[in-house]
């Protein structure tokens, strides 16, 4: 996934590309993060898309598949891919048109990898040797000591 996100970031000349779960959890990111707080950014992006989709329903649209915020220097493009959000932060080195075209192309690849990851994750959690089944009360208590 990191390789796909990395390639996509270069192809659309983005500053940062993030893949975020619709509940606001960061799955992967690539680019010039600097001191950007990716956790907060992901959470706000998810809230933003959730609010936008609720607004869509109020006007009779099923969903807004993408959301754009254009700033003076930096802009944000968010594309909804199933349960995930592909977020592109870009500046004057790129254009919205280029980002949109590249995002459309990348979304199929990202969706396929995510589907695979979901199946693998489900298989892992069903495994009797799942690491989480071994968590003891002491492990949990130790987090709060």
């Amino acid at each position: 996934m990191k390789a796909v996100i990395g390639r996509f970031c270069v192809e659309c000349a983005a500053r940062v590309v993030l893949l975020v779960d619709r509940d606001g959890q960061t799955i992967a990111f690539h680019g010039d993060i600097g001191d950007m707080d990716t956790t907060s950014f992901s959470s706000l992006a998810a809230g933003n898309v959730a609010a936008t989709n609720s607004m869509a329903k109020l006007i009779g649209e099923d969903v807004f598949p993408s959301v754009v915020h254009e700033g003076e220097r930096e802009s944000i493009f968010i594309s909804v891919i199933g349960r995930s959000l592909l977020i592109v932060v870009f500046d004057e080195r790129s254009t919205l048109g280029l980002v949109k075209i590249r995002a459309k192309k990348a979304s199929h690849e990202v969706a396929a990898i995510l589907d695979e990851a979901v199946s693998e994750s489900a298989a892992f959690s069903r495994s009797p040797n799942s690491v989480f089944a071994e968590i003891t009360d002491e492990d949990i208590d130790s987090l709060f000591s």
């Binding site: 996934m1 779960d21 619709r22 509940d23 606001g24 959890q25 799955i27 992967a28 707080d37 956790t39 907060s40 959470s43 706000l44 809230g47 959730a50 609010a51 609720s54 994750s121 892992f124 959690s125 690491v131 989480f132 089944a133 071994e134 968590i135 492990d139 949990i140 130790s142 987090l143 709060f144």
Partner: protein, 194 residues
Amino acid sequence: MTFINYASREINCKIVYYGPGLCGKTTNLQHIYDSTAQEAKGKLISLATETDRTLFFDFMPLELGTVRGFKTRFHLYTVPGQVYYDASRKLILKGVDGVVFVADSQEERMDANIESLYNLEENLQTQGYDLMKLPYVLQLNKRDLPNVIPMEDLALELQKKGEPVYEAVAMNGTGVFDTLKAVAKQVLTELRKS
């Protein structure tokens, strides 16, 4: 749903503080933020009105440490308490792993507590959750005020399923971490079971 990133070996859980307007949800988060070491927390984001009432949500990520090689991070959210922000409350409950209901102990806020608790059950249902099966803690806040209802009476009215009940004064931090610890423990225990 707890989000597990196997690649970065992280467990991310979402805890939502729910309750009527001005019950102290944001104050709970503010206290946790102020009392936590810099390296264990991210930014506290508050989407608030000009008068500091929560408009959409407050959010802070909190890292508790490592369990079986997995970094555990709790994402703490509050909802806007005012009745007319119901659409926002529904959205924030998406993907929730545990809920803290912050009740206002003052006599005159009893109806607001009941209404908000009913609203929580209803909104959870809309998102496909059942309060009876979800990690859940009841916090009775503002215990330092003169006009509070006795703890037993409040618990009798608001307790839903034998969940842990904590008395709190979020303004000075009393009961805030006990509440968080109780809900976090339930979430991790649930993860073990699943």
